[in-house]
C-alpha cells in the first residue's frame, strides 16, 4: 500500500513537473506567434523597416522557444500512457480524439509552415511568407482550443456513459467539446498567453530603452506591448471572475479551497480571506486577515447570500487546501500588478512619457516574468483544485495510474529533472541573450527618417529623441 502511494506521488510529481515546464513555452509562443503575424503584416502594409527588424528579432527567439515547446510537448503525449495507463484506457475514447484533432489541425499546421516562416522568405516571397506566419499563429490557437477542450472535459465531464469495462464512452461530441467550463477556460488561457507575451516583449523593450539601445525598435515594441497590457489585463480579470463563478457552480470544492473556507456560512456574510495559513488537518485558517461578508458579495452577489464551506465535502474528497489557496493568491496578485502596470502605462502615454518614464520602464522590466508566474499559479490552482479526481467526480487520481513500480517512476523523474534543467536552462539562457542583443540601429534611422544619431553614449538627448519618435508613430 505504502509502495503504491509512493509511486502515485512520484507519478503526480512527474506529471506536474513535465507539464509545468511545458506550459511555459506555449504560453509564450501562442502570444508571440500572433505578435509575429501582426509585425509581419504591419511590415508589408507600412513598409517600415522597424517592423521588419522587430519581426526578425522576435522570430529567432520564437524558434528557440518553439523548439523547446515541441520537445517538451512530445513528452506529454507519451506521459499519459507511461504513467497513467488506466486513465488512458478509460478516458482515452473521450479525450483521445480531442487530442487527435489537436495533432491533425494544429501540430501539423504549425510544423508544416514553421520551416517556411523561419527559413523560406527568399524562396516563397512576401505574400506566402505572411501566409505561413499566419498559419503558425492559427496553429498555436487551434492547439490551445483542443487541449483546453480535453482539459475542460476532465474538469466538467459530460456527454458520455460508462461501459462494462469502465471506459468513458462518448455519446454526444458537441457536449463533450463544449463543456460548461470550456469557454471560460479557453478565453482565460488565451488572454493569459497574450499577456505573458506582452509582458516579455514589454520588459525587453523597457530594458533596451533604459540603456538607450536601438530606441526606435525598443520604443515600438514597448508601446505595442504596454498597449496590449493596458487593454488585456482588465479583460483578463473580468474573464477570470467569470471563470471563478463557473467553477463555483461546477466544482465548488475548488473554490472553497481557493477561498480557504473550511466552514459554511448558511446565513451569508462569508468573509473574504486575504491572507492566512490554511491548516487542513484542523480545518481552520491561522492568522487570518479577512474582510467580513465580501466573499458572499463576490461569489453570490449579496452580503446575506449563504455560502458552503469544505465542511460539506467528505475529507477524502477535499483538494489540498494550502496549495490551492496560495497559488490562487499568487495568480491574483500578478493579475492586479498587471492591471496597475497597464493603468500606469496608459496614463504615461496620455502624458507623452510612456517611453521616457524610467520608473515605469524599471517596473516593466520587473514585470517581465509575471505572466509566466501567473500562468503557472493559475494552472496549479485549477489542476490541484481538481484533486482527488482526474475526471472530476468520476475517476480518482489514485485509480488512474499505471501499474508501474515506484523505482521506475523515481528514476525517470530524476532523469526528467536533470535533463529539463540542463536543456531548458540553456535554452532560457539563449533566449535572454538573444533578447539582450538588439543591434544598434544606425542603418534603420537612415531609412526611416531623420538624421543618424548614436544612442547609448549620452542618455539624455537620446531619451529626448525617443520621446519624439514615439509620438511620431
Amino acid at each position: 500500500m505504502l509502495e503504491n502511494l509512493d509511486a502515485l506521488l512520484l507519478a503526480r510529481a512527474q506529471f506536474a513537473f513535465t507539464i509545468a515546464f511545458h506550459i511555459v513555452f506555449p504560453a509564450f509562443t501562442i502570444g508571440l506567434a500572433s505578435y509575429l503575424f501582426v509585425l509581419n503584416a504591419l511590415w508589408l502594409i507600412t513598409k517600415r523597416q522597424v517592423y521588419e527588424q522587430l519581426f526578425d528579432f522576435w522570430k529567432t527567439i520564437f524558434a528557440v522557444a518553439f523548439a523547446m515547446g515541441v520537445v517538451s510537448g512530445i513528452v506529454m503525449s507519451y506521459q499519459f500512457g507511461t504513467n497513467w495507463s488506466v486513465f488512458s484506457d478509460k478516458a482515452g475514447p473521450v479525450i483521445g480524439p480531442l487530442m487527435g484533432y489537436e495533432v491533425l489541425t494544429a501540430f501539423f499546421l504549425e510544423a508544416g509552415f514553421l520551416g517556411v516562416m523561419l527559413f523560406g522568405l527568399k524562396r516563397v516571397g512576401h505574400g506566402l511568407h505572411l501566409f505561413a506566419t499566419g498559419m503558425v499563429a492559427i496553429g498555436t490557437l487551434l492547439s490551445a482550443t483542443w487541449i483546453l477542450a480535453a482539459n475542460s472535459w476532465m474538469h466538467t465531464p459530460q456527454g458520455f456513459e460508462v461501459n462494462e469495462v469502465g471506459q468513458f464512452v462518448p455519446l454526444d461530441w458537441w457536449a463533450i467539446i463544449f463543456t460548461p467550463s470550456f469557454p471560460y477556460r479557453l478565453v482565460h488561457m488565451v488572454l493569459a498567453a497574450y499577456l505573458t507575451t506582452a509582458l516579455v516583449v514589454g520588459a525587453c523593450g523597457a530594458w533596451h530603452l533604459l540603456r538607450a539601445h536601438a530606441p526606435r525598435r525598443s520604443a515600438t515594441m514597448f508601446t505595442m506591448a504596454m498597449g496590449m497590457v493596458a487593454v488585456v489585463a482588465p479583460l483578463q480579470i473580468l474573464a477570470g471572475d467569470f471563470h471563478g463563478l463557473n467553477t463555483l457552480e461546477h466544482q465548488p470544492a475548488k473554490v472553497m479551497a481557493m477561498e480557504g473556507h473550511f466552514e459554511s456560512h448558511p446565513e451569508g456574510r462569508a468573509p473574504l480571506i486575504l491572507f492566512g495559513l490554511p491548516d487542513q488537518e484542523n480545518k481552520r485558517v491561522d492568522y487570518e486577515i479577512s474582510i467580513p461578508g465580501l466573499s458572499s458579495l463576490i461569489l453570490r452577489h449579496g452580503w446575506n447570500e449563504p455560502l458552503d464551506g469544505l465542511d460539506t465535502i467528505p475529507d477524502e474528497l477535499e483538494p489540498p487546501v494550502a496549495v490551492v489557496f496560495w497559488s490562487f493568491r499568487v495568480m491574483v496578485a500578478m493579475g492586479m500588478a498587471m492591471l496597475l502596470l497597464g493603468l500606469w502605462s496608459a496614463i504615461a502615454w496620455w502624458r507623452g512619457r510612456l517611453t521616457t518614464d524610467r520608473r515605469l520602464l524599471r517596473a516593466a522590466v520587473a514585470m517581465g516574468p509575471a505572466g509566466f508566474l501567473a500562468v503557472l499559479a493559475g494552472w496549479v490552482t485549477t489542476e490541484v483544485g481538481r484533486q482527488p479526481y482526474t475526471v472530476y467526480g468520476h475517476l480518482l487520481t489514485a485509480d488512474s495510474m499505471s501499474p508501474v513500480a515506484a523505482p521506475a517512476v523515481a528514476t525517470s523523474l530524476v532523469a526528467f529533472v536533470v535533463v529539463y534543467f540542463f536543456v531548458f536552462g540553456a535554452g532560457v539562457f539563449y533566449i535572454f541573450r538573444l533578447m539582450g542583443r538588439l543591434p544598434e540601429e544606425a542603418e534603420e534611422e537612415v531609412l526611416d527618417k531623420g538624421p543618424v544619431r548614436t544612442a547609448g553614449i549620452t542618455p539624455g538627448p537620446a531619451q529626448g529623441t525617443q520621446q519624439g519618435e514615439t509620438h511620431g508613430h
Binding site: 524558434a63 528557440v64 523548439a67 515541441v70 520537445v71 517538451s72 512530445i74 513528452v75 503525449s77 507519451y78 499519459f80 500512457g81 507511461t82 495507463s85 488512458s88 484506457d89 478509460k90 478516458a91 482515452g92 483521445g96 480524439p97 487530442m99 487527435g100 484533432y101 495533432v103 491533425l104 489541425t105 501540430f107 501539423f108 499546421l109 504549425e110 510544423a111 508544416g112 514553421l114 520551416g115 523561419l118 527559413f119 523560406g120 524562396r123 516563397v124 461501459n163 471506459q167 464512452v169 462518448p170 455519446l171 499505471s402 501499474p403 508501474v404 513500480a405 521506475a408 525517470s412 532523469a415 526528467f416 535533463v419 536543456v423 540553456a426 535554452g427 539563449y430 541573450r433 538573444l434
Partner: protein
C-alpha cells in the same frame, strides 16, 4: 455498419508510424552520422538540410502516439507501460536532438555540447525505437486490461539486435538523404558511408527475418498463410531489387534513386511487420478489435482524419518542395 472502423484505424495508425519512420528516419540518421563528419561547415550543412522539415517529421510520432490513445486506448495503455524505459529514453533523446536544431546556432563555446546532444540524442532515440519494436514482436502480456510483465522484459538479445539494426537503417536513410541534398566532398563521403550501410541494413533485415520465427512460431504461420504468403515470397526479391537500386544509384551518381530505394527497404520491412502482427495490435495479447475504442470515438476522429490527412500531406509536400534541391553550403538558413 458496413465499414470495419477498427481495421481502418489500424491501417491509419500504421500509416502514421510508417510516415514517421521514413521521414524522421533520415533526420535521425543525420544525427547518427554526425561522428563521421567532424568539420563544422559540413555539420552546418547537414543540419540545414533537415532544419526546415524535422519538426513536421516528428509530428507523425505525436500522431502515432496521440492517435493510438484515441482509437486503441488499451493498446496505448499497455504498450507504453510495458515499454516504459525505452520510451522514456527515446523522449529524452528526442529532447536533446530537437533543441540542438536551435541551440547550436546560438553559441560557440557550447557548440560541441549541442553537436554531441544532437548525435547521441538521435542515436538513443533510434536505438530505443528499435528496442521497442523488438520487444513488441516478442510479445507483451496483458491481464485484466493491464500490462502484466516486469520492468526489464523489453531487454533481450533480440530487442538489442532490432535496436542496432534500426540505428543502421536510419544511418542509411541519413546517408542517402545527404547524397540527395549535398554536393562535393560531403556528398562523396555520404556515398562512401551509404554503401556499407546498405549491406549492414540488408544483414539486419536478414537476421531479423530468420530470428523472428524463432521468437514466435506463430509468425512463421502468418507468413505462410494465404494471402500473406504471396508477399513472403516476393519480399526477398523486392528487398534485393531495392538494394541493387541503392547501390547502382550511388555508383551512377543518380542522387535521388538511393534515397527512394532505401525508403523502399523500410516500407517493405514495415509491411512485413504489419502482416506478421495482423490481427493483433499488441501481440500476442490484444487483437485490433479488442483494443479498439468505442465506435463513436473511431467514427468522430475518422471524419477529421479523412479530411485533414490529405491536406496535411499536401502542405507537407509543399514544404519539401519549397526547400527542394541541393543545399549550397553558403546558403546558411541561420
Amino acid at each position: 455498419m458496413g465499414i470495419d472502423l477498427a481495421f481502418v484505424w489500424a491501417f491509419l495508425i500504421a500509416f502514421a508510424v510508417l510516415a514517421y519512420v521514413v521521414m524522421d528516419g533520415f533526420d535521425l540518421g543525420i544525427g547518427i552520422l554526425f561522428p563521421f563528419f567532424r568539420d563544422k561547415r559540413d555539420r552546418d550543412t547537414m543540419m540545414n538540410s533537415v532544419a526546415p522539415v524535422w519538426d513536421g517529421n516528428e509530428t507523425w510520432l505525436v500522431l502515432g502516439g496521440g492517435g493510438l490513445m484515441a482509437v486503441f486506448p488499451l493498446a496505448y495503455a499497455t504498450v507504453l507501460t510495458a515499454l516504459y524505459v525505452p520510451l522514456i529514453a527515446m523522449l529524452l533523446g528526442l529532447i536533446f536532438r530537437g533543441v540542438a536544431f536551435e541551440f547550436r546556432w546560438r553559441t560557440t563555446r557550447w557548440l560541441s555540447v549541442w553537436d554531441w546532444g544532437f548525435s547521441v540524442g538521435s542515436t538513443v532515440a533510434a536505438f530505443s525505437q528499435g528496442i521497442a519494436l523488438g520487444a513488441l514482436i516478442e510479445g507483451i502480456p496483458v491481464v485484466d486490461r493491464a500490462y502484466a510483465g516486469g520492468w526489464w522484459n523489453w531487454l533481450t538479445p533480440f530487442s538489442i539486435a532490432t535496436g542496432i539494426s534500426l540505428v543502421i537503417g536510419y544511418a542509411l536513410l541519413g546517408a542517402t538523404w545527404l547524397v540527395l541534398k549535398t554536393t562535393g566532398d560531403l556528398a562523396a563521403r555520404a556515398r562512401d558511408i551509404a554503401r556499407p550501410a546498405t549491406y549492414l541494413t540488408l544483414l539486419g533485415m536478414g537476421v531479423f527475418s530468420l530470428w523472428t520465427p524463432l521468437i514466435g512460431p506463430h509468425y512463421l504461420g502468418r507468413w505462410l498463410s494465404f494471402p500473406a504468403v504471396i508477399f513472403s515470397v516476393l519480399v526477398p526479391l523486392l528487398v534485393l531489387a531495392c538494394v541493387t537500386a541503392v547501390l547502382s544509384g550511388l555508383n551512377r551518381q543518380k542522387d535521388l534513386q538511393p534515397f527512394l530505394a532505401s525508403l523502399g527497404l523500410f516500407v517493405l520491412g514495415f509491411v512485413g511487420i504489419g502482416i506478421s502482427f495482423y490481427p493483433f495490435i499488441v501481440p500476442p495479447s490484444l487483437t485490433i478489435h479488442e483494443a479498439a475504442a468505442p465506435r463513436a470515438s473511431l467514427a468522430f476522429l475518422l471524419v477529421g482524419a479523412a479530411v485533414l490527412i490529405p491536406i496535411i500531406l499536401a502542405y507537407t509536400a509543399y514544404a519539401y518542395w519549397v526547400f527542394r534541391g541541393k543545399i549550397r553550403p553558403e546558403e546558411g538558413y541561420h
